[in-house]
């Protein structure tokens, strides 16, 4: 479509403004992560927009090697929270994807579990805060408080709606001719599912899993309630840094924030094509 030069100019202007607004918070945090302590806060009227003496000190600090006399070393480093985040998010994803894919196939091909679509939407509708008391009591009873596996189980349930709905729309869209051919050849239905359908669906499975992983990795509230010390996740650890010390550890927290923010952004760009489908529970495809 032909556009007038004025429109083209207006469009680039508007979009570039939006891009600037989008990037300023991210860049500010990135810049903060590389600033030495004296540049953390404004001195007088001058604000340090870009680190004058860029340094890796903040990253070294959160991993336990303090290079500055101004702040004492941490009693706990970021290593364990990173492991905790990785373990709970990964296993939460495995739980959600296994249960979600199987159920989606059961509904899509055999009409089983007709209650699931609505039940899972309702699950997503409820604020997690409103069901956490029974979960905290049950998890305490099972000895799951402050463990990565207890966290993984909750994550698996909380993200099950996304895994289920994504996989359901993928299965609904899939052509069934090959499956039917295999059935005629005498393959059992279960074998068709594991040997033919799942390998064919490798790419959709991978993007659904990445989508669910991003959601699990992004959690803060659930980890805040269910972990106390040993298995706190990265966001909880990051938020706790300020209260345990005197004053704000701007640079150290920014370094941690950067570590937490980078994986989902990269994964999100990888699965850009499926984001709309995932976020709208498959109601909309791109």
């Amino acid at each position: 479509m032909h556009r007038s030069p004025a429109f083209v100019l207006f469009r680039y202007g508007a979009i570039l403004f939006a891009v600037a607004v989008t990037l300023v918070p991210v860049l500010w945090m990135a810049s903060m992560a590389f600033k030495p302590i004296p540049e953390w806060q404004a001195t007088g009227a001058a604000l340090t927009w870009w680190p004058r003496n860029p340094t890796w000190d903040n990253f070294r600090f959160v991993f336990g090697t303090s290079t500055s006399d101004l702040i004492v070393a941490l009693d706990r480093t970021a290593l364990r929270p990173i492991v905790s985040s990785l373990l709970s998010a990964t296993f939460g994803t495995i739980i959600a994807m296994t249960a979600g894919t199987a159920a989606a196939y059961g509904l899509s091909r055999f009409g089983a579990g007709q209650n699931l679509p609505l039940a899972l939407i309702q699950l997503r509708l409820f604020p997690p805060m409103a069901v956490m008391i029974p979960v905290m009591i049950m998890w305490a009873f099972l000895g799951f408080i402050d463990t990565w596996w207890g966290l993984a189980l909750v994550y698996g349930i909380v993200t099950l709606p996304f895994a289920f709905w994504l996989m359901k729309t993928f299965f609904d869209d899939m052509s069934r001719e090959i499956e039917e051919a295999a059935l005629v050849e005498g393959c059992s239905r279960f074998r068709v599912f594991t040997r033919i359908t799942l390998p064919m669906m490798r790419a959709p499975l991978a993007s659904a899993a990445l989508f669910v992983f991003i959601l699990n990795w992004s959690d803060y509230l659930i980890a805040l309630l269910l972990t106390t010390r040993d298995w706190v996740t990265v966001p909880v650890y990051m938020a706790s840094l300020s209260s345990s010390m005197t004053g704000q550890l701007y640079g150290a927290k920014a370094a941690l924030g950067l570590i937490a923010a980078v994986p989902p952004v990269i994964l999100g760009i990888l699965i850009q094509k499926h984001l709309v489908r995932g976020l709208t529970f498959g109601a909309l495809k791109q």
Binding site: G113, L221, P235, A239
Partner: protein, 307 residues
């Protein structure tokens, strides 16, 4: 079916429907168990606790909470709990501001992306980035931005020509504004993404025909785009409203619900009385009341959507 029957019948005569139903049942079983694990049993437990004064500090295991039975007193209390109603009102206010603003900004951006232009893909990827940032980290970003010696005030002072030192996060009204700005920053991309996908589905020949017939942009939008986008707009608004109602991470990191209770939304309020006051019987009553209202609203909305 007994063993003997199974042996006498050749496998092919097994009614395919039973076979299918059994496999379907087995496949959906894990999901059903997980859903029950977090819905039915917890709800019953919550209902029971909500009728008592039980607290984890009371020295009793929860099954014996009946010893602290107080009937419907918790439910009566919540009707006159001003802090609860204020938190609900505040949440409604945040939703009423953020969701429409995100929708309009997202729609405006989406219309700019409707046809091809150089750099489209890169700009698109940058614009949808905020929604992939961990919300707690986004909260920390805005916490830094809104410091009194921070970048927001610095940018403002370029325009006023004198140093601006607004203490955003410690002023009751400005703190709520700052929290809403963070929410809009993070979730406008979601609206943009969904609405753009919807706009791309509007047939171009219809638009061209309408243009030839002399329809202006607004008229084309109202008569062609809007009717086709209705479902998508409803979905986008519903998803954002639901998520906005739960708002916690960004807000809690930025202000912790403060100063005072100035940014205390419903999730923050429940979090505080759960972890600080530890009156779990009362918390259970509030949680159940909210779940009940939301479920009724959800079923009503589903029925309306189906029509």
């Amino acid at each position: 079916m007994t063993m003997a029957e199974k042996l006498t019948l050749p496998a092919t005569t097994l009614p395919p429907d039973t076979d299918r139903r059994r496999l379907g049942f087995r496949l959906t079983l894990p999901a059903q168990v997980l859903v029950l694990l977090i819905s039915l049993f917890p709800l019953l437990m919550q209902l029971y606790i909500s009728l008592t004064d039980w607290s984890p500090l009371s020295g009793l295991m929860w099954p014996r909470a009946w010893q602290m039975w107080n009937g419907l007193a918790n439910y009566a209390d919540l009707l006159s709990d001003n802090r609860l109603w204020a938190a609900l009102g505040r949440t409604a206010f945040v939703m009423a501001v953020c969701v429409p603003v995100e929708f309009l900004l997202g729609l405006a951006l989406a219309t700019l992306f409707m046809d091809e232009f150089p750099g489209k893909r890169v700009l698109y990827s940058i614009l949808i980035m905020p929604m992939m940032v961990v919300p707690a980290v986004a909260g920390y970003m805005f916490f830094m931005l809104f410091q009194s010696g921070g970048p927001v005030n610095d940018i403002l002072s370029w325009f006023t020509a004198s140093p601006v030192t607004i203490a955003w996060l410690s002023s009751p009204t400005l703190a709520l504004t700052a929290v809403m700005i963070a929410d809009i920053w993070q979730w406008t991309p979601l609206m943009f993404l969904i609405l753009l996908a919807g706009l791309m589905g509007v047939p171009e020949d219809q638009m061209k025909a309408a243009t030839l017939l002399g329809a202006g942009p607004w008229q084309r939008f109202r008569t062609i785009v809007l009717p086709r986008m209705r479902t998508i707009i409803v979905i986008a608004l519903a998803i954002r409203s639901i998520e906005c109602f739960k708002i916690f991470d960004t807000l809690f990191i930025m202000t912790g619900g403060g100063p005072g209770v100035a940014t205390e939304t419903i999730s923050v309020y429940i979090y505080k009385i759960t972890t600080q006051d530890l009156i779990w019987g009362y918390v259970a009553a509030i949680a159940l009341a909210i779940l009940l209202v939301l479920s009724v609203a959800c079923i009503w909305a589903m029925k309306r959507l189906a029509r």
